[in-house]
Symmetry: C2
Subunit: 547 residues, 2 copies
């Protein structure tokens, strides 16, 4: 079976080179479209290429002779089908390199691994916002609130906030399971934060607090997808949580392409075309995913475009799944974040006629509290009986973690002018956001200076997604190495520089184009060295493969 996949993989790479037009499905050069059928895992045309490639990377691991009951042949094929490149093969290689670096420093042309693969700011030295951590510590160890020394150690408003939060928790028990949707008082705070942001009412009963945004996305996919006949319109390129979650829940990803030439623009005409094509194949499209600001593409949608998207969903009977986790991350003066809730309400669409789920997370923004796993979804425009089902799904896992819940309330209600922490909080916040903007600009310019690379600006989010025109000889070398060409480039980059980026194939891209995603998150003092190493590597790579 492994050998079979290996030869298929080679075939796929061959085909990839021959398909240079936009395809109807985001990874057209796939076996079920143009090759003999593969066994189970590949039944759907929406499997991504790299699964077959990465399966071949460890052929010695076959355990077919063991007496163990679980094998690749008898597990859920949806699991096999699922992909998550952000923590995929290249990251595994990087982790091994990092381990080896400890004892074997001289063997490498670099001192450290720089993880630009994932939006994980604090792993790269960003400090947490002090006010948030003060409140968390006081809520964790509440007897601090009875000690006089505490007033010297904590800001007054952190102490006040901790009391206020504890007063909303029955018995002040931060160690108890909460209501399945999260602590009511925290949801009140979040709803008030949404109202202040949008200028339209928000209902605390619409808020479902979750362990980061990912479980919320899974919950909606599980609700909406019954079989591969149910489809979800997803941007290509996309954050692979969506393709992974759709695969795990057995639905079909219906791709729509963001237009790189217009700064990753979203064309309603393309949405319509893809929707109709999916329908003609018997797929019932249930929802449209929009990631704004974009991941991995970094664009910020214009309000007019958002209105068209809302009208499209309304007209076509689609749920709008709005990934708005980067709402605080906008870096250019000519763009502004507008929530889809605000856009829909200002068009007059409301609870009775427009189904919208907005995802938010404590992992992004200026706070970057990834390890806390806090987040929420605001669920509007669902009938009461369907909402009961969502509540039931939330109940099966009891509740999300309370520290994450508290943090989600804090990011939607940070210190205000006059508060003890306000000045220092604003300095931390603005320092982080302006530095991110600077880093985005520097990296974007550096990438655009490289031969064969073009990079749209990062208007928001935390990523750049440059396109790289690879020489034919590099593509052939990748093929010989049984690797997708962009993965080949990224592996070479890692081995030469210690910089970890993710191949575009993990996000989806127009067939025949190659990209990688690079975060803007290394600290400012590291950026010049990264630019130098990247530039030097790229030159030598191009020299090696130039025709």
């Amino acid at each position: 079976m492994r050998r079979f996949l290996a030869s298929q993989a080679k075939g796929l790479v061959d085909q990839t080179r021959r398909h240079h037009h936009k395809s109807r499905l985001f990874l057209s050069p796939l076996p079920s479209l143009s090759s003999p059928p593969l066994p189970n895992p590949a039944r759907s045309p929406l499997v991504s290429l790299s699964r077959f490639l990465s399966s071949t990377s460890d052929m010695s691991a076959s355990d077919s002779t063991s007496s163990l009951p679980v094998t690749l042949d008898n597990i859920n094929p949806k699991v096999l089908k699922c992909e998550y490149a952000v923590r995929g093969e290249i990251v595994n290689i990087a982790q091994k390199l990092q381990e080896d670096l400890k004892t074997n420093k001289d063997a490498y042309p670099f001192d450290e691994i720089i993880y630009c693969n994932i939006g994980n700011p604090q792993s790269l030295g960003q400090l947490p916002i002090r006010f948030f951590r003060e409140v968390l510590a006081l809520c964790d160890h509440t007897s601090l609130l009875d000690e006089s020394e505490t007033h010297g150690l904590f800001s007054t408003d952190a102490i006040d906030r901790a009391w206020k939060i504890l007063d909303t928790i029955p018995g002040r028990a931060t160690g108890a399971y909460s209501h399945s949707q999260g602590i009511k008082g925290l949801r009140d705070t979040i709803a008030a934060g949404i109202e202040a942001r949008d200028g339209f009412p928000a209902d605390p009963n619409d808020i479902f607090l979750t362990d980061g945004a990912s479980p919320a996305v899974h919950m909606m996919m599980q609700l909406l997808l019954s079989s591969e006949k149910d489809g979800i319109l997803c941007p290509i390129p996309q954050y692979p949580l969506y393709s992974a979650s759709i695969a795990l829940h057995g639905g079909s990803l219906v791709p729509y392409y963001l237009d790189e030439a217009t700064g990753w623009g979203l064309e309603i005409s393309d949405l319509k075309k893809q929707l109709e094509e999916a329908r003609s194949k018997g797929i019932t499209v249930r929802a449209l995913v929009v990631i704004n600001p974009g991941n991995p593409t970094g664009q910020v949608l214009g309000e007019e475009n958002q209105r068209d998207i809302v009208n499209f969903c309304k007209q076509e009977g689609l749920v709008l799944l709005a990934d708005e986790v980067y709402q605080e991350n906008v870096y250019v003066p000519d763009k502004k974040f507008h929530s889809f809730k605000k856009v829909a309400r200002s068009l007059g669409h409301g609870e009775k006629d427009f189904a919208l789920v907005s995802f938010q997370s404590v992992s992004k923004g200026y706070y970057g509290e990834c390890g806390k796993r806090g987040g929420y979804m605001e669920v509007t425009g669902f009938t009461s009986d369907v909402r009961e089902q969502i509540y039931k799904m939330a109940s099966v896992n009891l509740c999300s973690n309370i520290s994450g819940q508290i943090l989600a309330s804090l990011v939607m209600s940070p210190p205000k002018p006059g508060d003890d922490s306000y000045d220092s909080y604003m300095a931390e916040r603005d320092g982080i956001l302006s530095s991110m903007a600077k880093r985005a600009k520097t990296l974007e310019e550096a990438l655009n200076n490289l031969e064969g690379l073009t990079c749209n600006r990062a208007e928001g989010a935390m990523y750049l997604f440059p396109q790289i025109k690879l020489p034919q000889k590099a593509i052939e070398a990748a093929e010989a190495a049984k690797t997708a060409p962009d993965a080949f480039y990224c592996k070479r980059l890692l081995n030469a520089t210690g910089i970890v980026v993710v191949p575009g194939s993990g996000f989806g891209q127009v067939p025949g184009t190659w990209h990688f995603r690079c975060t803007i998150l290394p600290q400012e003092d590291k950026i010049p060295a990264i630019v130098n190493r990247l530039t030097e590597f790229h030159k030598s790579f191009m020299d090696e493969f130039r025709e």
Copy 2:
């Protein structure tokens, strides 16, 4: 559709009364076995009764005329099928009562709602272990470690432990995503704790840290279940996470009955019988779930019995899914907790020939840190390629929350003799466990004193699961109220006393028998009042319905 379900529900209750023998499937009186087929949600014979009952409780909520895209008819039927009684209808009623009590105190014969429905100790006044919370606060707000006042506020070993933990986290960044399986240093600590517990080696690479045990269970179900042709052997009664998770992932629950007459004994002969019966129906049974100490049944397995279970799984090629979250909760001198890992290893079964997943949680034990959502699974006896798939599934959600990860390491490595906190820690721990034992005994005796009630002892865990012989007139009244008889009893109990317990039908029970689950968790000073109210209610209930 709602009206249709309502009349079906009535039919189900009628049938329930006629089926008083052990059934091949845990809820035999179900439509697909003996009634005309219901639409989608009821396609499988393993749907539970209460879904149809609760659907009828809110007939006014019909939104069929709305223009919203999502309806009960077009969501994933697996979601409809899923049940979670621990937070089901009775808890919803209780929450409404609690809300109403605030303003309408005189309308009720009780002052407060006492939640005995869920193992949530801190919601009922149990205090967190101080050492654990000190370490968490220091890891949340690490700059405390630089302040001199901290030494007056925190114990020395908590400060040492916080430093030790921070040193294992790259960059000391508790706000960063960790390795998908959890921070390696914490997994080292947990593996060492398992080794100390069992006397057999444990590998940190086998540990997957999760947001409580529930996501770990979901992950294994998602891995093992491809369709309803895949089955999981589950105890009846069971903790409804299992039935819910099997339903959500589209598999079949293959029930085996615990024998109430022998203190909820687990008979290998019954396992064999159920396995063979399932196989004869074309179901491939993938795993056996064992909950030890038992939930909701409170029994602690004997080592000899555990050996037989291990041998049975080995022989039949089943994964053993060992729910061991109550491993610290054993209350009787004649029983002791033995991990299945230890039992398997002492039989000579190891990594190469025995697939075992053990689940642990920070929510139970003497710590009861439910709100922190920490836990882990130890995965042994899986081939490396299958483990890669489990790793990938863990990666899709990035990682579990870091506070929960830290806490999981703390409960597996608490203060040791000589540590600054040791004496106070032991006093807290022993105080909680001995009080739990006392409360279990008092409640068990009180229940056994009631007419028609018999209750096995709670050897461990946090629950009593008494059987109640309901008078025929009560069963008829339940039928008239379109409610299962045990739910009828529990609702009456709630309305008369404010005490919330969960009907046995939420856990599964031998058809024709009725039970409820009651936690042992109210604080000791509340127990006499609970016993009085329960006794008084029960007498008047029996007087009302006595024939």
